[in-house]
């Protein structure tokens, strides 16, 4: 029988302090019994002398300084792991909420994970066909990559993520096992429901493991949700040899929760009130994507974040961009023109693309076509800026060609149906078709031989 500590010395937002604690470990999980009936879990976030500061999952409602009994569990937060995770739904701290009872297994693992040794990583090279031209053609997703979607409120990031899930899962060859781990942090009920429906409709729901922390669920739990999901993903990928696609939405809520807890702890804020360790905290999540040498599986991450006020320089998208291997940026302007998916291709980027495309992977002209499309589309912006000053009629013939190219590029190349699954060859063919609208000497990024072959 372990010792229980009666009462508390402090309650502040989601944090409580217990005095007289002996043998507590940093980040250890404690069990708090309120009024002898309600049970809550908490995590020790600071130790000083005999005082432990505990972050309470499920909020501090009903807790008074005198009505609690607290017990140390002796271990950090853990998740029970088994292949039966697939097809199940959990809350933000890994408790089943689908009424099917707990997962039974002896294997429990610390959700904080451990850093993957760079020596044992395998550099990701296999591209995933998503069937979306803007992604496949210009910001190719690679197996084992972390490629976030930078979006704004009201933009169709969920639809895009769902389409990626639908079409990427179809693409893989039959003998490879594929599964999805879905983590929702502070999202609306409707969004979670949308994803559930999508998984059902595309027949993959038996291969999905969901961790849901909805907008009205306790804020502190959000800090754990992505770690739960990634612990499950790492287990399925590196021990069960599956290719795991992890969808994390919405990372902004995660960062907001971090700020909330940090300010309750009285920590010194850095940018916009976020704690100084926001970068490290985000990195411990994003860096848990990848491929381990000698393992069959992989963890690919698609985090979704809504940029506050569509500002890409806000700390959350900014720090994310420095950690992830590229980003897909959605644009309100394109959305306003009814173009789906409204991917703003210029700031969008896939850092792993260069090694996963070209001959042997997609087609040898892929890199050059992508570079040329980027470069030409960047010039469209200049032509438009000029047109807005001197009027379209006054533009030089070449600038007019660029305007026409820009229009077609946006509607035909970027724009496509939510159910449309384009092969990479279709995407590249379409790319060439658009480039042919421009005179050959304007195509300065393409090798002469490729121009001869395709122009």
């Amino acid at each position: 029988m372990s010792i229980e500590y009666l009462g508390l010395s402090d309650i502040n937002g989601p944090l409580i302090a217990i005095e007289g604690v002996e043998g507590a470990a940093f980040e250890e999980i404690v069990e708090i019994t309120v009024d002898n009936k309600e049970k809550k879990l908490g995590r020790i976030v600071e130790l000083y002398k005999d005082k432990a500061v505990v972050q309470v999952f499920g909020g501090t409602d009903n807790i008074s300084l005198r009505n609690t009994r607290t017990r140390l569990t002796g271990h950090p937060l853990e998740l029970t792991l088994s292949e039966e995770l697939l097809g199940r739904t959990f809350n933000g701290i890994g408790e089943p909420i689908d009424g099917l009872g707990p997962i039974v297994s002896d294997l429990r693992r610390d959700v904080n994970g451990k850093p993957l040794n760079p020596v044992t990583r395998e550099y990701p090279r296999n591209y995933i066909s998503t069937g979306i031209s803007a992604i496949d053609g210009l910001a190719t997703l690679i197996r084992g990559q972390k490629l976030p979607i930078f979006s704004g409120n009201g933009l169709p990031h969920n639809e895009l993520a769902a389409q990626i899930v639908r079409q990427a899962s179809l693409g893989g060859s039959q003998d490879e096992k594929f599964a999805i781990v879905f983590a929702a942090m502070g999202v609306k009920y409707d969004v979670a429901e949308f994803f559930r429906k999508t998984f059902d409709e595309s027949g993959v729901s038996s291969h999905v493991c969901m961790f849901l922390n909805l907008a009205n669920d306790p804020v502190v739990e959000r800090l754990i949700t992505p770690k739960m999901a990634l612990t499950a993903a790492e287990y399925l990928a590196f021990e069960k040899g599956m290719h795991i696609l992890v969808i994390l939405t919405d990372m902004t809520s995660f960062a907001e929760a971090l700020r909330e807890v940090s300010s309750s702890k009285g920590e010194i804020p850095s940018r916009k009130g976020y704690p100084g360790y926001l970068y490290s905290e985000l990195a411990t999540i994003y860096e848990r994507a990848g491929i381990v040498e000698g393992c069959k599986g992989s963890v690919t991450q698609i985090p979704i974040l809504t940029m506050p006020n569509d500002d890409i320089t806000h700390p959350i998208p900014d720090l994310t961009g420095y950690i992830t291997e590229g980003q897909i940026v959605l644009d309100r302007n394109l959305h306003g023109q009814n173009i789906y998916p409204p991917v703003n291709v210029l700031p969008s980027l896939s850092r792993l693309m260069k090694d996963g495309i070209g001959e042997g992977y997609t087609r040898k002209d892929h890199q050059d076509v992508a570079n040329q499309l980027f470069s030409s589309y960047a010039k469209v912006g200049d032509a438009r800026a000029l047109a807005s000053v001197i009027g379209e009629d006054e533009l030089s013939p070449i600038d007019k060609k660029y305007l026409a190219f820009g229009k077609e590029f946006e509607t035909r190349f970027i724009g496509q149906g939510a159910m449309e699954n384009r092969s990479i060859i279709d995407t590249l063919t379409l790319g060439w078709e658009l480039l042919k609208m421009l005179p050959r000497e304007e195509l300065d990024r393409i090798d002469t031989k490729l121009l001869d072959a395709y122009y």
Binding site: F26, Y48, P118, L319, Q327
Partner: protein, 588 residues
């Protein structure tokens, strides 16, 4: 190891001990039962503050802390090259052997392989008087680099005995000396040096030789000297890492220390894979033979991230002392500054700008001042050049890390988002970047590359600057209304941007270009400018000039002229002459 006390408080990577302890500032300690490595960063009358280089999850109040008696140091001996370490010089491949794919805590591994036998050639004989830094043995560490075993800087004495040439481990005694006080001391190949203390030198030289990188915009427009410092700031996706990789691959330094400080794990894996395959053009050996990687990825403990920069520069200074030119790639110094901020926040220090500690500037300057071209203690000449990437928040160069770095570096290679968006790489912007080494290096370029090199370079810069002021007008009224000579300036500037500044890192010829070709390219572009300008002065409209494909031909020189066939440039001069005659003839 002495017991220094027990843990009293824990906050993230910071641990407190109660009372007065035997600990010294900057001393290395072992924390808890798992013996996590830590460093003393604060001592007051009632507590000692320790930063721990590993995750503190599971650490308990009351666990013991052991003192090591020595400051946090690196082990210096053969075996550093062709290796990958974490932030406190623990070899990651050994850690992988001990703990598998993930990095566990409290792993105790030797920094360097103590069992490996090195072919050693002793260069001293009994009776020789040795001073700090004297070379006592030579060991071929890799195919490319001879490791010179030196006397630790703080010792001197007379050689009593040496071992014969042969194979020894790094801990075998290879030489015994008698110190001035009469005591004898056995020397092995190993020495230790605290990471936060610069290694001593005789004196510093002014920087007057360039670090040649094979990257046109760097070598020609904004050169860095050997022993110089440069900052590469840029928002995400602008190509900081790519620039660093290119310099690490192609620069003419003897040794490369690549510090991945708080960056992506996959990037380090890529460097490791690429550099093992790529061949050094100078020696014909794999690039890894001259490279050491220090990897503290963003998910590894934050305190070790702070240390990794110092570990890297200490290793660099050690090789400099052997007389080598060493270049350090620090990617990225912003992550290091953020580690300082994170730790400072945990220590509840008063924040200065944007939450960074007030000592940010002094730490940055202390780091960059460890670069330099020096005369070493053994009178050879060596250098440490630092190329630090900066990741400004939101790509905004006015933030504290970029601004403070700017004060202490002499080269500034500003990466530009709009260039990166248009996939103009390297996205170094020619208007925001600068190099203060131009004057120091002008003499070298004149003597070694060509007398007109500096002049050509200045003409190029002038044209680019004219273009930028013309573009202000073009943005308002379009380029059609400009007079023909200004249209020509825009066209030549385009040739410079596409044909000279843009460089394709994935093209086998274009990825690294020798200075001689860079000069020829400049000459050709300027010759075209001269001839075309003559035509325009005679009243030929630009539309006529543009009928010829000569501009496109000159742009394509970078691909069409192989690096070892520079005689082909004569043909381009003939073509330009022909173009001149043809236009004259047709429109006379």
């Amino acid at each position: 190891m002495e017991n220094a006390g027990t843990i009293y408080g824990i906050n993230g990577p910071i641990v407190y001990l109660k009372g007065i302890t035997c600990l010294k500032m900057a001393e290395m300690v072992y924390v808890g039962h798992e013996k996590l490595v830590g460093e003393v960063i604060g001592l007051t009358k009632d507590k000692a503050t320790i930063q721990v280089y590993e995750e503190t999850t599971g650490l308990k109040i009351g666990e013991p802390v052991l003192s090591s008696g020595a400051p946090i140091s690196v082990t210096l001996a053969p075996g550093i090259l062709h290796n990958i370490f974490d932030g406190i010089e623990r070899p990651l491949s050994e850690i992988a052997k001990a703990s598998g794919a993930y990095i566990s805590r409290g792993i105790s591994v030797d920094s360097l392989d103590t069992g490996k036998l090195w072919q050693t050639h002793i260069t001293v004989k009994p009776g020789d008087m040795l001073y700090g830094g004297s070379i006592i043995a030579e060991v071929p560490e890799t195919k490319a680099i001879v490791h010179k075993v030196m006397l630790p800087p703080d010792t001197q004495g007379r050689v009593i005995s040496v071992v014969p040439d042969g194979s020894y481990t790094i801990n075998d005694t290879i030489c015994t000396i008698q110190l001035s006080d009469g005591t004898e001391r056995n020397l092995s190949m190993t020495q230790h040096w605290p990471i936060r203390v610069p290694r001593p030198i005789q004196k510093r030289f002014p920087a007057n030789r360039p670090l040649i990188t094979g990257q046109r915009i760097l070598d020609t427009l904004f050169p860095i000297a050997k022993g110089g410092t440069a900052a590469v700031p840029g928002g995400f996706g602008t190509g900081k890492t790519m620039t660093q990789h290119q310099i690490a691959k192609w620069s003419d330094a003897d040794i490369i220390i690549y510090i991945g400080c708080g960056e992506r794990g996959n990037e380090m894996t890529q460097v490791l894979e690429d550099f093992s395959k790529l061949v050094d053009p100078k020696t014909g050996n794999p690039l890894m033979e001259r490279t050491t990687l220090i990897a503290n990825t963003s998910n590894m403990p934050v305190a070790a991230r702070e240390a990794s920069i110092y570990t890297g520069i200490t290793l660099a200074e050690y090789y400099r002392d052997m007389g080598y030119d060493v270049a350090i790639m620090a990617d990225s110094t912003s992550r290091w500054a953020e580690a300082l901020r994170e730790l400072s926040g945990r220590l509840e220090e008063m924040p200065a700008e944007e939450g960074f500690p007030a000592y940010l500037a002094s730490r940055l300057s202390a780091f960059y001042e460890r670069a330099g071209m020096v005369e070493t203690l053994n009178a050879s000449e060596g250098s440490v050049s630092i190329i630090g990437a900066v990741s400004p928040q939101g790509g905004d160069f006015s933030e504290p890390v970029t601004q403070n770095t700017k004060r202490f570096v002499r080269c500034f290679w500003g990466l530009d988002k709009s260039l990166a968006y248009a996939r103009h790489f390297p996205a170094i912007h020619w208007l925001t970047s600068y190099s203060e080494y131009l004057d120091n290096l002008a003499g070298w370029y004149t003597d070694n590359v060509g007398e007109d090199f500096v002049d050509c370079r200045n003409q190029l810069v002038a044209i680019l600057n004219q273009e930028s002021s013309l573009m202000e007008i073009v943005k308002l009224i379009g380029s059609d209304v400009l007079p023909d000579d200004q249209k020509l300036t825009l066209e030549i500037a385009r040739v410079i941007r596409l044909g000279f500044l843009q460089q394709n890192a994935f093209h086998p010829e274009d990825t690294c270009v020798p200075l001689s070709k860079q000069l020829k390219m400049m000459e050709t572009i300027l010759y075209l400018n001269k001839k075309a300008r003559a035509l325009v002065t005679m009243g030929m409209p630009m539309s006529v000039l543009k009928e010829s494909n000569i501009f496109e031909r000159v742009i394509a020189i970078k691909y069409d002229v192989p690096n070892d066939h520079l005689e082909l440039f004569d043909d381009y001069h003939k073509e330009i002459d022909a173009f001149y005659d043809e236009v004259l003839e047709k429109n006379a």
